[in-house]
């Protein structure tokens, strides 16, 4: 595809995003506001996470970034939030200050430290299950620290761009995005050999294909459609994307905006009156739509939310989906958001066992699965991604970076990712698998990149693409 020139919408978008981003300086007023907002959103669970850490560092080896440096252990990163909480939210902290590690950020360097903690955390939840006290450091880091970093101007420009594209539905106005979408739909139609059942009302299954799904794994979109079609289900999909990767605001810690996006998405989906909404994305989209949505809406949605792998399991068990079993040496990588944060751990094993006699679990799987190191926005922080997105938006990669300091930060993040991913690659190596199947675009990108880096020859596939090819 030819590179597109930037549309006026894109230019305006970049200007708007950059107005809120500044990687330099110390905006004391913005910090105060961000801090007050973070404290006002505390509940008893977050209070437990902030107050009951004993600093044993038992969680440290769980974290993919601990292997980059011990200063990236979960407790180390979450401590930055505790510093502020103690100073602002506790009487003893106010009285005894430094004795209790109670202090507020004072300088540009302090803010740099915060943003570094945020982008050395994938929110994988491995620290949560390995903490003897059930403390979810990831939630504190990506939630509280993330919102403070973004609101004081330190957000990766590219993710902020995606956020605005999503919330303003600008993807509909960006020609290259719509080109990709239409191409995928055209190919799907060819694969199915009949028109796609767009925009039906009241269907049993609504396949929520988002913009990112079409962009990152078109073969999975097509595979899912083949499966729904062959199983003879009453299904539909939107003729145009409803969101980019909802709610992408959550990746940069903008909880309020993420909730607003969820509300908009719910309204859009509800118009189709579906009984079930099926997701392809096993990244943060899954726990947000499956578990956070009722909280955001203040009621349960009128439909059930399930991931395509859950639907596959059901269809295979009911005999509606028949697979051609192979001998592929295949394994499953649990995306942290689908497994640890979403509880979907058994279904993929069942589905892949049905697809191949050569299926094997990774040495660390399910609740103990190793994180790929790419989540939480880290996967977006590399030159390759900037260049690709620059091309699609019709701008140079430099336009997607606010300053030299941000660029340096991105390079350092990518370097650290290359260390963090190694543990996962070693685990895959041990399994002897030749195909790694998973369900999250970031995991796919991270594992494929990591295996290239460490000389492991494997294929990385989305489960819907893999199963799509195994249908009898």
């Amino acid at each position: 595809m030819e590179q597109m020139a930037p549309s006026p919408a894109v230019k305006q978008l970049l200007e708007e995003v950059k107005r809120n981003i500044s990687w330099e300086g110390f905006p004391a007023d913005k910090l105060e506001k961000a801090l007050a907002e973070a404290l006002s959103a505390l509940d008893s669970v977050k209070l437990h996470f902030l107050e009951n850490c004993v600093g044993c560092a038992a969680c440290a080896p769980a974290c993919p970034y601990y292997y980059v440096s011990e200063k990236y252990g979960p407790v180390e990163k979450a401590e930055l939030a505790r510093y502020m909480y103690r100073k602002e939210g506790t009487i003893l902290g106010k009285l005894l200050g430094p004795l209790l590690n109670a202090k507020k950020p004072q300088s540009e360097k302090d803010l740099d430290e915060i943003v570094e903690a945020v982008y050395r955390c994938t929110n994988c939840g491995a620290c949560y299950v390995s903490c003897p006290f059930g403390i979810d450091s990831g939630l504190i880091i990506k939630g509280i620290l993330g919102s403070i970093a973004t609101k004081t101007g330190r957000a990766p420009t590219l993710i902020a761009v995606f956020d605005v594209i999503e919330r303003k539905k600008l993807f509909l106005e960006i020609p290259s995005f719509m080109y990709i979408w239409n191409e995928v739909m055209k190919k799907a139609e060819q694969a199915l050999g009949k028109p796609l059942p767009f925009d039906k009302k009241g269907a049993e299954y609504f396949l929520l294909v988002n913009m990112a799904d079409a962009m990152f794994y078109p073969d999975a979109v097509i595979g899912a459609m083949r499966a729904l079609d062959r199983a003879g289900l009453d299904w539909t999909l939107p003729s145009k994307p409803l969101a980019f990767r909802p709610p992408i605001a959550a990746v940069i810690g903008l909880q309020k905006q993420a909730k607003e996006m969820i509300k908009i998405l719910d309204e859009d989906i509800s118009k189709y009156e579906p009984k079930n909404v099926v997701l392809l994305d096993g990244g943060f989209v899954y726990p947000w739509l499956r578990f956070q949505m009722p909280k955001a809406l203040g009621r349960r949605p009128s439909y059930r939310v399930l991931h395509i792998v859950e639907l596959f399991e059901k269809l295979i068990k009911e005999g509606k989906l028949k697979l051609r079993q192979t001998d592929d040496k295949v394994t499953w990588h649990d995306p942290c958001q689908l497994a640890r944060r979403g509880g979907v751990t058994e279904e993929p094993n069942f589905v892949l066992s049905a697809a191949s006699k050569g299926f094997r679990k990774l040495p660390h799987h399910g609740a103990e699965s190793y994180c790929c190191g790419g989540g939480g926005g880290i996967g977006c922080m590399n030159m390759e991604m900037l260049e690709q997105m620059g091309k699609l938006l019709g701008v140079s990669s430099k336009d997607l970076v606010a300053s030299d300091k941000e660029l340096e930060f991105i390079k350092k993040t990518a370097e650290h990712w290359s260390i963090a991913v190694k543990r996962k690659i070693d685990d895959v190596k041990k399994s002897g698998a030749e195909i790694v199947v998973t369900a999250c675009p970031v995991c796919m990108h991270s594992i494929a990149g990591g295996s290239q880096l460490y000389g492991l020859k494997i294929q990385v596939r989305h489960i819907a693409a893999y199963i799509g090819e195994h249908i009898e």
Binding site: V45, N52, G55, A58, E79, S130, E346
Partner: protein, 270 residues
Amino acid sequence: MGYLGGSVTDVYSFAVYYFFWVAIAVFAFGAVYRIAKMVLFWRRVVKAEPRNRGVGAWIIGLIRTFVDPIIFSIKTKPHDFLAGMVALHLVGVIPLIFLLAHHVAFFAYWFSPYKIIAETGLWIPLSVTTSTLTITSPIEVKFVDSIWGPLTVVLNGDVLAILAILGTAFKIGTKVMEQIHGLRHVRWSDYFSLGLLLFILLTGYMAARHSTGTVTMDVGTYRTVLGLHILGAEVLLMLLPFSKYWHIVFGYWYGKLHEWYDLRVQKGLV
């Protein structure tokens, strides 16, 4: 007028008859404060439909929630596990506090149902050879006939105190090392908390071993050391709600049960 009547004549009587109540009051206030704070911050939210994996999975999930971090710690930080978990918690401080014969007698004095530990024989003796309580008791050297059987060789005050002292000293050493490495979670208050624990263990050990081997104390010194031991324990009781020690009373149990509910019951993680 003597100390048995309850007036303050030395550190010991001050700790037992006077400061005890101060410590209880501060602890009660702190505990109520912290629990009230949790209740106050509770927010009603609409929950998603839980993934139902059945009661069996819930029970296994509950066990795994408590056990998994222990296994993880054994695998990833064996030295920390041995010092922190085994020496300091499992065989050190916890049995020592709740089961040592001296403590059973002391607790039962204030809270008579605690006698059940003595009656069921669950108490652990001071040493493997003697269970004499004070310098004034006739000293008999014989193997203790404890419910713990041969386990008494390990399950006795001497061994446990030494393990607990080693564990606590190790934790203090770890904190120093972590601070040298520039890790930011080490707090000055950590040294106070652990130092206090070490002080209690050392004075307790000294008081308990007042009459054997090379160390012999007169009654006055004994009362002072024991008084300091009890005073230290009372300060620790006061500190419980305001420090990391809150985990024993509340944080640990709440945290694990919340995690179990969130991940295993609600999300169905197996």
